[in-house]
Structures are given as C-alpha cells and as structure tokens.
C-alpha cells in the first residue's frame, strides 16, 4: 500500500514524504524530488542530485505523481527575486488557460493528456497555462510512448516565408557548414542539400568566424541564393544575437536571428544574453519585415546540460532546466526551436539510451509549451552512441510529429565535429512515415522538377539547372 503525506516547512518550501509498505521516504523539497524522479542521465549524476538507486528513483516518481500541478506555481526552484527566467515563467502564467487542469496532480495530468479529452484544440489552448516545471514533472513519470503520443497531438504552426509545423509535415534545416567559412564550400553543401530536397526549415550556417564583415558576406550569399532561385525558405547565420543586431544595423539582409539559450538567468549570462538583449535582437529582426507569410523571426537552440556546464543550474535537474529554456523561447514567438540533444557530450547524456530519452522529453515539453520544436538528432564520438541510435530517435521523433530536423551532408559536420542527421535521413523518415515538407517548399521542389507529385526525388531530374541561377561565388 502506498501513501503520501506532505509536510509544511518554511515559506512555501515543503519536504515531500512517501510511504511504501513500512518504509518512509523523504525528499527535501520539490526541486530535489524532481531530480530524483528523473530517468537516469550522467549530468544529474555529475551534479550530485540524481537518485541513489532505482528504488529511490521509482519512489520519487510515485511521490511526484501525487503533487498538485498548482504546487509548481508557489514553490519555485530558482528564486523569483534573483532569476529573471523564474519571474518570466510566473508573471506570464495564464491562470484562465490553466483552469481546465488546475485541479489535477502530476499523475492525474498524465492520465488527462493521454485521454480523449486532450484534443489538439484543448492542448493548444492549454499551453499558456502550463509552466516548464509542470511539463517537466509530467514527462518524468511518462514512458517514451506517452511522450510520443501526447506530443503528436499538438500542432504548432509558425511562418516566415513558408509554413512550418502543419500536421503530417516535417521540415529540415540545411546545415552547410564549412571549417573556414569558405563561400564556395558552403555553396557546394547548399546545392547538395537542395538537390536532395532539404532546406525548408532554414538554410542555417554555423560560422567559424565571428568577424562582422565575414558574417555580412555570408548573409548576402544566402540571401542571393534564396532570391535568385525563388526558394520559399529563410536564411540564418548562427552567430550571437548582439552580432546579428549589428549586422541588421549595417543594413545586412538578416532573415532569422539566432541565439543559444538556457533555463536560468545565470546560464543565459554565460551565453552573453538576457531577456532584454534577446528582446533587442527580436525587435531588430521584426523591423526588417522580411517574412512574406509571417513574422516568426527567431531561431533558438537549447540542450540539456547547458546550465550545468555553466555551473548555473542551481541544483535543478538538467531536464527541468531545459524545459525552462523553452519559457525563454516562448516569449519571442520563434519560427524554430532546436534541442541539440547529443552535442554536449557523455558527461551529460552518456549513451544512445539517454540521448533518445532526452530527445523525446525535450520535444514533448517544448510542444506542450506551444513551441515549434525540432531536434538536432546527434552525437559526438566520445558518447556511447552511433548512427543506429540516431535512426531510432529519428523514427520516434518522426512519429511524435517533430517540427524539423537537421540536414547535413552525409551526417558529418566538418566544422563542429559531430554527427547529426543527413539529407538522406530526412528522405528515409519521409518514406517510412509519409511526412511532407513545408507545403510552399514542397511546391517549389516540384516546380523545379526535382521531386514528383508525391514529393519523392525524381531519378533523372536535371538538378544541374540550379547552377545557372546561382551567384558568381558558386561558380566552380
């Protein structure tokens, strides 16, 4: 028989107790309970906050399931007074949106999410009433299939020059990185990606340089490609938000403004950003009015472990920190939010199992919070993972309705030195699950003669005609 009792402590802080048979378990506070309820991952072990063993983890989940969702509105993990992310979460909480589930516990909320009552419409309306901590807690007591089934119900649609996130579609970021930002090298990967039908999410370059002149040239290159070929997509140079703002001030064509973000004020500070700095970049990008279908102008990247690696996690488990980053993203109506799930290394996510689990959690949490969540399904060579694990996560996320994935020539990013998904991987998951591209991009490929009516690559397509429309930098 299982019983639980909560004991009041000082000022909103409680210890959490749970009886299993004759044994009483005590968890210091909700933050500690969350950490101990988390599925095993190396980062929480590194932080010294993980459950000591399987039994403690299982009991923590039993205890967490009985916590009312309302409790997350009064018991903060990182103090309101010292953390602007906590303030953002609580100040922007929409009590009316929350009302339909306000009476539920974490466990009851899981049951509700999986029930027929949680329709796509209901979930869409609920998003503003949920906090990152609520969805993170719920994910911790869910199996992988629960994370997939629930996320799949949510439809998050965003627009710039095309439409991302429609049901039955999945977009891909064309990631044409080059170790020294060589224009022709980047162009080569762009042509390759387009010929393989990739690039509807964004054509996005991680530059090696942070020199404003170099970055300006890259922006103009991508802009020229998109406009000469009339591609219904958007460009992004993944440089710091303040650099993008400088580029905009200099009159450089910038479609999307990028930034890596995290779930605590201190971790964001380690990235050199704050909510007000993000706001400046957001407003600068919006002022250009370059989107033809919509004005979602931000591209954010996140990843479990970033707060811990900056020593800025405040004792909060890495998955909850990650979900808090989505609250930051949500404030800026992004076109794309990308969890770069296996990039950070084995000290945070040790192996394929942990990476797969984290990818599904992040996607679930982001979608429930109303974000266009994509995933860089990836690993480094020092993680216990390989492309088979990536295939598994890709297939699962495809089933879960992931908004977008990465497209990298042959999976091998020669600038950042890690392995992600390839142009071919996107073709695979489209084939297996019948997923289409963003409709405007799909139509462009068809009109260009690269794909057939079903969106499959045409065998004898004369893709070389792409060349004639390309700017001089592309001439081999």
């Amino acid at each position: 028989m299982l019983r639980r009792a909560m004991q009041s402590g000082n000022k909103g802080n409680m210890s959490y107790r749970h009886m299993v048979g004759q044994k009483l378990w005590t968890f210091g506070d909700l933050k500690a309970l969350m950490a101990k309820a988390s599925p095993e991952r190396s980062g929480d072990g590194l932080a010294g906050i993980a459950a000591a063993n399987g039994e403690e983890r299982a009991v923590a989940r039993l205890c967490l399931a009985d916590v009312p969702l309302r409790q997350f509105l009064s018991e903060t993990f990182i103090p309101y007074e010292t953390d602007e992310v906590t303030r953002l979460i609580l100040d922007s909480h929409d009590a009316r949106a929350f009302a339909p589930v306000a009476h539920l516990t974490v466990g009851g909320f899981r049951d509700w999410l999986l029930s027929e009552a949680a329709t796509p419409l209901a979930l869409g309306r609920l998003a503003a009433g949920l906090t990152p901590e609520m969805v993170a807690a719920t994910s911790k007591i869910m199996r992988n299939q629960d994370l997939i089934l629930t996320a799949r119900k949510v439809e998050v649609v965003t627009r710039f020059r095309n439409t991302i996130g429609l049901r039955g579609t999945m977009a891909a970021r064309l990631q044409p990185n080059h170790p020294t930002d060589d224009a022709r090298g980047i162009a080569a990967s762009i042509i390759d990606g387009l010929a393989y039908g990739s690039g509807d999410a964004v054509i996005g370059v991680n530059p090696a340089s942070d020199n404003v002149a170099v970055l300006g040239d890259l922006c103009r290159l991508l802009d020229e490609v998109i406009h000469r070929l009339g591609i219904p997509t958007q460009a992004c140079i993944l440089t710091h938000v303040t650099t993008a703002t400088q580029l905009i001030e200099r009159g450089v064509p910038v479609d999307l403004v990028f930034q890596s973000i995290a779930g605590t004020e201190a971790a964001n500070m380690s990235f050199g950003v704050s909510l007000s700095i993000l706001r400046e970049g957001f407003e600068a990008a919006r002022s250009l009015k370059r989107g033809t279908l919509g004005d979602n102008v931000m591209y954010f990247e996140t990843g479990q472990g970033s707060a811990l690696s900056a020593d800025a996690h405040g004792g909060v488990d890495q998955q909850t920190c990650e979900a808090r980053a989505y609250a930051v993203a949500r404030a800026f109506e992004p076109l794309l939010v990308n969890t770069v799930v296996g990039f950070i290394g084995p000290e945070y996510l040790y192996d394929g199992k942990q990476i797969i689990r984290a990818g599904l959690e992040d996607h679930f949490c982001g979608k429930l919070l109303g974000l266009p969540l994509g995933c860089d399904i990836c690993h480094t060579n020092h993680a216990e993972a390989d492309q088979d694990d990536m295939d598994t996560l890709l297939t699962l996320l495809g089933a879960a309705g992931v908004s977008f994935i990465m497209g990298i020539p042959g999976s091998d990013d020669v600038m950042l030195n890690y392995q992600s998904t390839s142009f071919h991987d996107a073709l695979y998951v489209r084939e297996v699950l019948g997923l289409k591209r963003a409709p405007e991009f799909e139509a462009w490929l068809r009109d260009a003669g690269l794909t057939d009516a079903d969106g499959r690559l045409v065998s004898q397509a004369d893709s070389t005609k792409l060349l004639g429309a390309l700017p001089p930098a592309f001439a081999a």
């Binding site: 080059h178 390759d192 390989d386 020539p409 042959g410 091998d412 030195n417 890690y418 390839s422």
Partner: protein
Amino acid sequence: MNDDTPPVPRIDPWTMLRELTPARVALGRTGASLPTHEILRFGHAHSLARDAVHATLDVQALRRDLAVLDCDLTEVRSAAEGRTAYLRRPDLGRRLSDESRISLDAKRASGSDLVIVVADGLSATAVHANAAALLDLLVPAIRRKGWSLGPIVVATQARVALGDEVGAALDARMVLVLIGERPGLSSPDSLGAYLTFGPKPGRRDNERNCVSNIRGGGLVPPRAARAILWLIEEAFRRGETGVALKDESVDIAIEGASPHLPSLP
C-alpha cells in the same frame, strides 16, 4: 525509378562539388538511402574515431619517442580511474590522483618558466601520431630562447585543466598542455595545444590560448610549433594568456585550426 533501369545506386551528378568542401557532398543514393559504399565508409571513419577515444596511451612508447629530447620525464594520473569514469566525470579528469600529487610535490625544486604536459585527453591516437614530431621542434626552440624548461609530464585520463594543478605543483610560470582532442569523423588524430600563464587550480577556459587541429591533414607540426612559440613569447611579454592574446594570434592560429570545439577535451 524507371522499370528498365537496373537497381544500382544513382551516381550523383554533382560529384564536382567534392572539390569545394571536405563535407560529404554528392554521395549518390539508392532510393531514399545512401549507397552501400558510403554507409560502410562512414562506419569505418566512425570506428577510427571511437577507437581513438578508447585507446590507451602507451607511455613506454612515448618515452622512447621523446628520449632524444633529453628531458626529465615524469608520469601522472588524474583522479578518474578508467575510461568510463573519465568520460562521465570531467571534474575528476581535471584533478591529480592523490598519488600523483604527492609525487609531483616531491619534484617541486626551484620552479621553471615552462612545464609541458603531454596528455591523452580524448585521443591517445593523436598523441602517438603528433606529440613527438611537435616536441622535436618545440623543445630545442624553447631552449634557444633561453626559457627554463621543467620536466615533461605525461598525464593519463587527463583533461586540459589538469595542467593547472601540475603547473602549480611544479611552480611553473606557464604550462603548455598537448592533448588529444575530441576526435572528429575525419580527424581521429587531432592534437590540441593549450597555453596557460600562471597555472593554478581554478583557472577558467577564457584564460587560455589554444592552437587546435594539429595533425598531418590539418595544422602540420612545423606550423603549429610556430604558432605555439609566438603565443609563448607574447604571453611572457604581457604576463597573461587568454582572450586578449587570442585576437591578434588569429592569423597564425587560423591556418587549419578548428576554432569551435564545444568543450575542451
């Protein structure tokens, strides 16, 4: 695919793109998938990188390779016992084992301008492939400059920051850590060189300078040695390493460097 075409992988019409980038472009396809050869070629590259991560540094072989330099050579281990602990707990890889700390304290002597640490990091393969060639150039040049050189410290299960404790224990003004970098798919043997002025535990990564991607197909040892010597000289002149030095060394370091490692080995 047309019914009359045989089921062979379609050759990519863009093979000329391969000359423009080291990226894996123009791979061709069979249906939606990679041709057999490309799948297997990728698997081979991944195996080399994985093996490099798990390779053990052969200290005896390294001793033989470095004998010609006529340096005092000493061994230390980090607090990470075994590769699994090393990969899971970077904090342990940044600290000396108790044994090694005691043995280094005994060697403290009168200090030196520079201590060189040769560390396995994430690729012992990189150390075996490049450390001796680099040190053959560096050590004589350092002596010509008149800087006093402490022992060469060979460190296993080591992260970059282990050099801070080693440098402090040996009372060095500066420490140079040569360490196997996180292997890339096309570069399992890449060595990194990290220079830290005033080494002591707690130094931050922005207080170091790095010359990266030192290997045959990247920044070759003669060019790497030049870049490192320039940094050493500037660091002694200014009395610091770190961000300030980085800006001006960019032209030297950029040649073949891979500047955006997400985290240090």
